[in-house]
């Protein structure tokens, strides 16, 4: 299988970049996630053997941190902040709006693979609440109308490229 080979080769490259150090496991997993947008099973197995770590240890770390995803994620990951400040400023209705607009629930990816929805606990931008982070871009003081605008803009950009 070509895809499996790709995962292994790229993963080995990432491990090598970090010098194969066991303590670099989290950094390696972050890089793998950056490369594939999630943590593929094959990549975890390759990383474990390349770093001389038991697979169980790698899987423990991968499942512990919510920043890691073991399921393929969409092109655009929408993270809705559910921290206290955002919550009191209406994050749950923003979440509701995103769920209806994208047709997915938190933890899911849209059928076209374009969007993933996630809820996070605090992104450290409480003054801008409610905050929504899409990929690495922060959107502050999000309103219902703004949700449509943001999603519309991403859809338009995707159609152009």
């Amino acid at each position: 299988m070509k895809k499996t080979g790709n995962y292994s080769a790229k993963t080995r490259e990432i491990v090598k970049k970090h010098g194969g150090e066991k303590s670099a496991l989290i950094a390696v997993l972050q890089d793998i996630q950056e490369a594939f947008n999630y943590l593929p099973k094959q990549a975890l197995k390759t990383a474990a053997s390349a770093m001389n770590l038991p697979l169980s240890r790698v899987y423990e770390v991968a499942t512990f941190y919510t920043a890691f995803s073991l399921k393929p994620r969409g092109e655009h990951v929408v993270k809705i902040c559910m921290g206290t400040a955002c919550h009191v400023r209406g994050a749950s209705s923003i979440q509701d709006k995103f769920e209806r607009t994208l047709g997915i629930k938190p933890g899911e990816t849209s059928a076209d693979g374009k969007f993933s929805l996630e809820t996070v606990n605090c992104v450290g931008a409480c003054a801008l609440g409610p905050v929504v982070v899409i990929n690495t871009e922060y959107h502050g003081q999000v309103t219902m109308a703004k949700v449509d605008k943001i999603v519309g803009k991403i859809n338009k950009e995707g159609a152009q490229s």
Binding site: L55, R57, Y59, E60, F64
Partner: protein, 237 residues
Amino acid sequence: MVNMIIDGKNVAATEGTMLLEAIRGAGISVPTLCAHESVSRSGACRLCVVEIKKGNRTRIVTSCLYGVEEGLVVNTKSDRVQNVRRLVMELLLARCPESGLLQKMAQEMGIAPQLRFALDTDKGTCILCRSCVRVCEEVVGVSAIGLFARGSHKTVGTPFMEQSEACIGCGACAYVCPTDHIVMTSTGDKRKIWGRTFKMQACSKCGKFFAPVDQLKFISKKTGTSFEELSVCTECR
């Protein structure tokens, strides 16, 4: 040797040992679940708590992890200790209501399940003490199992909850498990554990199925002893 006072008795203990051993050595019983002689201590079950007094201060510590100290005053049955222990037991009971061992221990301690703690139905009898994970890493040396996810979703298992290639079917995890959460079934020449079926090796002398083939291969590889030599059960050796 260090001298301590445990429940009003003068007790001497060897330096470097843990309080739990000193207390038990003095003939005082302390309930524990996760302190197993074969694995390192982790203080996971929290049932071994005792109250220690240094100077004018007292505090609660897990006796299985607290090293003996000169002049320490230990109380294993104070109200504070009993309260902490009761809460720990109540929470363990709520997590594993089906566990026969926990039920028995709770009864002996006079503790009943509390309504305020909703009973878990999906945890089996696992108290997440990590003894199995530690024995697999420290004693067996294959690290086939681990504790995955976090918080209330935390579960013990094999990576991806699939049949593990690293597992050698030795059953050490099932042996150390204090609450018998890990199920291992052996029938004839087959042994089933962690969803995988292992072929058992028959003793070349008496013909009894005594160990998984994979385990013998692993030992042979590690120690350099030939597989044929290992294919004789301990009774015939």
